[in-house]
């Protein structure tokens, strides 16, 4: 049923003690209010904690290597999702488009003043007015 490597229960308690130390660092670090320290202590330490849990509690350190590949393939899909969606979410405009929520009332008044037809302005699926593409 189990893995080839057997440890004493004290071994797992030591791993837990290290995780506790890392946990206190991850809570205490961000209280300093320094961005780089927060990033390292909160997220860097979280990554170390996660790796330790996977390696020693889930026994991935003695698991077949293709299991790492199985888990990594899921992470690659997630990375693909991030890269694929990031431009749409994080950019407010492109060469021929402007995100609808960047539209403001002044633009609407200008379009009306210039006599641009409502169909030229265009409506998105939620019925909100978007900036014409030529702008």
């Amino acid at each position: 049923m189990g893995h080839d490597v057997a440890h004493t229960s004290g071994y797992y308690v030591k791993i837990w003690a290290i995780l506790m130390v890392l946990f206190f660092i991850s809570v205490a670090g961000p209280t300093l209010g320094i961005l780089i320290v927060t990033l390292i202590t909160a997220f860097g330490v979280a990554a170390i904690k996660a790796t330790m849990v996977m390696a020693y509690f889930m026994h991935l350190n003695v698991e077949k290597k293709y299991i790492w590949g199985l888990l990594a393939s899921a992470l690659i899909f997630i990375l693909g999702l991030f890269i694929g969606v990031a431009p749409d979410v994080m950019k407010s405009h492109g060469v021929q488009w402007t995100k609808c929520n960047s539209f403001d009332e002044r633009n609407l008044a200008r379009f009306q003043h210039e006599g641009i037809h409502a169909l030229d302005i265009g409506l998105n699926r939620t019925g909100r007015i978007c900036t014409p593409q030529r702008f």
Binding site: S9, Y12, L71
Partner: protein, 193 residues
Amino acid sequence: MGFSKPVATDRSATGIPTGRLAMWILLSSEIVIFGGLLVCYLLYRFHNTEWGHEAAHTNVWAGGFNTFVLLTSSLFIVLAHHAAETDKDNEKAFKWMWATIGCALIFLCVKAFEYTTEIHHGYTAQANPFWAFYYTATAIHAGHVVAGGLAIAICSFDVRKGEHLNRVELTGIYWHFVDLVWIFLFPLLYIAK
């Protein structure tokens, strides 16, 4: 005609027991579920720095205490696995499994306290997109805590009788994953302000 032992219990065509392989496949699908949610959160968080002000209203002490509880529960379930596999002590394994369930209940009680306080102060899922993500992520995670606790409870009675001991390890791997998800949720939702 009696029930025979499931083939998946012992078969090892891939080099590891099929049950354990199935658990890893399940967890890889769970990575996509939680990973997709967290990626969406990160994308919007990068774009909306003002969410940090909303995150400041989460209870870091409660979240930190729950992190401590889940890390400790991970120790308990790995000790249950150790007791069943190495010590051949089923009674001890049973007790460690129920200690893990106790941690799950403490976690859920603290989470319920947090939800109550936050909703009471007007921080509902509709208050702000940050809170929508907060409730979605933590509620899905809490659902996994409940599922993991139930699975451990059901398996514990077989383990006490010396049956299906491999399930201690399988439920343990699942439980560690629940812990892993919280390790990332805690800094994202509570620490990053």
